[in-house]
């Protein structure tokens, strides 16, 4: 007789901001705050996910997202490994499906996926038994970026409700913009997308945001969120604006375009001198390093939230929301 196994715990994923409620977001931000508090003590490591395995599966270049997921898993005492497409079997032509199923054979609790195509994390969720976190899929979603942006904003401004965020730049190619607009809407803030008409996708206002092509409209906002101008989008035949020079003249965030009292955010990596003037990037108004710091605690909170709900006994090592 084979031994009867307990029923598999329900799986939870973070694939899209669309899957979240306002309560989910508030719980995650609260968890992140309490984790931040515990990290300020002597011990930087919590035993919460001891014995869990977190796999980072990255098909695109990344510095801060990969580093912060790795560190977040380690701070929670999980075993972690990172697979990048370069140097892995993906270079030999292995499909996402086969790679995912190969990794699933090691029975990871969480797989964090970054992929150049929309929907890849959904496929990993379908083909494996792990909880899946979307760390950026194509131009679609980057939900942990949106959460860390909310966290950094709330830390800096003390509230989210009622905030007005101007998101400036290449919205067309930006998963950050899509996730952020949805997340801001959920917490009672609102957003205006500002950029050249060629870089604003037709129909995007259905997400519940305003659209403008006039940088002057950023002045009314509490926050100027600057998107990276993806230089690869300027290839021959793919030029969405006539030149970076003209783009910078029309939309570059210079000190003159930042109103006193406004804060400036950027998801990185920055193209200094293109979408953001170095004087702004290095100013008091810039929250860029706060965003990076927020990335660690927010990703810890997400890992904690996904992994613990399914557990039999709740962790006791920390104050939980």
């Amino acid at each position: 007789m084979p031994e009867l196994l307990p029923p598999a715990p329900p799986r939870r994923h973070l694939l899209s901001v669309r899957d979240l409620t306002r309560d989910d977001i508030e719980r995650l931000l609260k968890t992140a705050r309490s984790l931040s508090g515990s990290l300020e003590g002597q011990v930087k490591k919590l035993p919460t996910l001891r014995g869990s395995t977190v796999v980072n599966l990255f098909y695109e270049a990344s510095t801060r997202t990969l580093a912060s997921f790795e560190l977040a898993a380690k701070r929670l005492s999980a075993d972690t490994m990172s697979i990048r497409s370069s140097g892995s079997s993906a270079e030999k032509g292995e499909s996402l499906k086969d790679t995912a199923q190969t990794l699933a054979a090691y029975d990871p609790d969480v797989i964090v996926v970054r992929h150049p195509s929309a929907g890849a994390p959904q496929l990993v969720a379908r083909w494996t038994g792990a909880n899946v976190i979307n760390a950026g899929d194509g131009k679609h979603q980057h939900p942990t970026q949106a959460l860390l942006d909310l966290y950094a904003l709330e830390e800096a401004l003390g509230r989210l409700e009622g905030l007005h965020v101007a998101i400036v730049g290449d919205v067309l190619h930006s998963r950050v913009a899509r996730s952020l607009v949805q997340a801001l809407g959920l917490v009672g803030a609102h957003s205006t997308l500002i950029g050249p008409p060629t870089l604003i996708p037709r129909g995007i206002e259905a997400l519940g945001c305003e659209v403008s092509s006039d940088i002057a409209d950023a002045a009314a906002a509490d926050v100027v969120y600057v998107l990276r101008m993806q230089q690869e989008r300027m290839a021959a035949g793919e030029a969405f604006v006539p030149s970076l020079r003209e783009y910078t003249a029309l939309y570059g965030i210079t000190p003159e375009r930042v109103r006193p009292g406004q804060v400036v955010m950027h998801p990185g990596p920055m193209n200094r001198g293109v979408e953001i003037d170095p004087r702004v990037a290095d100013s008091e108004a810039a929250l860029v390093t706060d965003q990076v710091r927020a990335g660690l605690v927010v990703r810890m909170a997400v890992l904690y939230d996904l992994s613990t709900v399914a557990r039999v006994s709740a962790p006791v090592a920390m104050e939980v929301a």
Partner: protein, 423 residues
């Protein structure tokens, strides 16, 4: 110009409600078929089964030669038989492209041993479908080409398109056009609109189709030549077609079950079986297609049956190839989603799946009358069935309907006097 395996004819009798709109029949009849020919039509008692002229599909990818792992002449025509078809037209975008009498000849020869259902082969308008030089249209027509198309690709050059319209007079067979302006569709994976904006999928705007439709209709008007527009998806294309037909242009058109049933909302699932070219469009587009099908502006339903290997569709949406299969589900999907809700009369659907496409592509028209070759489909409108991979005769399973419950089922198909399918 239709070819199928050699062999005899069947004798059989069928009873049911015979619905043959082109022959003005809607009554319960017993049909006697003797040696493949309808020999008698007699009154019969009421019967819940419907018998109609069998279906004609003007747009099928049989993937042969080159991708026999996805479909073969045998599997594709068996799928057609199971879908109620008595004739299908195969697209020439194979490996190699059907652009010479020798490639066409080998297909014709193979169809004589493998094709279960009479099959016509379209040949390419341009050599290798590169849009540079005309194929030898007259020689291809003499070798049996059913029609000409570069389907899968547009004829980008207006100059070549004009020449094809002029020269097709020599070939005597229709031109069927895949309308796509590639500089507008490049990088496109989904209809440009709220759904593609939210999902971050490369936009494929309606104008990528309608601009080319307008160009080709203008050329057809100027050259006074007929043309057939394939797989229309956008309301702007329908409007252009309507205007051109009113102006006397001899233009016909087809649309597909998936464009008639779905909108781009379905793409939110990011299921690669909802990725097709042209893409699923908005509610207003679907409304325009349904109106045009009802009033006859669009006279034909075409499946655009496009088999793809499982491993090629088992990838993220943006990496997946365009296309879905449709032969075995076309009638049931349209009956379930258009006829039952009252969007389209049954007779109209039957006409648009049979007489309509036959007339548009000028292939023999299935008729229910004494003396005609028997091309009949028997339908059980009450049947409920679930679409499942295991049920497909097609070698591929990239259906947008997997797992769905449908109403209406093909019970028997008689093609060119032979029973080719019996459930």
């Amino acid at each position: 110009m239709l070819f199928c395996r050699n062999g005899g004819s069947d004798s059989l009798t069928l009873e049911g409600r015979v619905v043959a709109p082109a022959q003005g029949i809607d009554e319960c009849l017993r049909i006697t078929v003797t040696d493949g020919v309808i020999s008698a039509l007699e009154s019969a008692i009421a019967n819940p089964l419907v018998i109609a002229p069998a279906f004609v599909d003007p747009h099928v990818h049989l993937r042969t030669p080159g991708r026999e792992d996805e479909e073969t002449l045998r599997s594709g025509t068996e799928a057609a038989a199971a879908g109620g078809y008595c004739a299908i037209l195969a697209m020439p975008n194979t490996e190699p492209v059907v652009d010479s009498a020798s490639v066409l000849g080998s297909l014709v020869a193979r169809s004589r041993s493998e094709a279960v259902v009479p099959t016509g082969f379209m040949a390419a308008i341009s050599k290798r479908q590169e849009g540079e030089e005309l194929s030898e249209l007259a020689e291809l027509a003499a070798a049996g080409a059913a029609a000409f198309t570069d389907d899968g690709r547009p004829v980008v050059s207006a100059g070549l398109m004009r020449r094809a319209l002029q020269y097709s007079a020599l070939a005597g067979r229709p031109l069927a056009l895949h309308c796509e302006e590639p500089t507008l569709s490049r990088g496109g994976h989904a209809h440009e609109g709220e759904v593609s904006a939210e999902l971050g999928l490369g936009p494929y705007p309606s104008t990528a189709e309608s601009l080319m439709v307008e160009r080709d209709l203008a050329l057809a008007a100027a050259e006074d030549r007929p043309l057939h527009l394939m797989h229309l998806s956008a309301r702007e294309s329908v409007a252009a077609l309507r205007r051109a037909r009113a102006d006397g242009v001899a233009a016909t058109a087809e649309t597909t079950p998936h464009h008639l049933c779905l909108t781009d909302e379905a793409v939110r699932s990011l299921d690669p079986n909802l990725k097709m070219n042209p893409p699923l469009r908005g509610h207003e587009d679907r409304r325009a297609l349904r109106d045009a099908l009802r009033d006859g502006t669009i006279g034909a339903v075409a499946t655009d049956h496009a088999p793809h290997a499982r491993h090629e569709k088992d990838v993220p949406f943006e990496e997946a190839p365009f296309g879905v299969i449709g032969l075995e589900t076309a009638f049931a999907s349209l009956y379930t989603q258009l006829v039952i809700p009252g969007e389209l009369p049954l007779e109209t659907l039957l006409e648009r799946m049979s007489t309509g496409p036959a007339r548009a592509l000028r292939v023999p028209e299935p008729r229910i009358e004494v003396g005609a070759r028997a091309n009949l489909v028997v339908l059980d409108l009450e049947a409920r069935w679930q679409v499942a991979e295991a049920g497909f005769r097609s070698l591929s399973a990239n259906s947008w309907l997997l797992g769905q419950m449908l109403r209406g089922r093909v019970l028997r198909t008689v093609a060119d006097g032979r029973e080719v399918f019996s459930a």
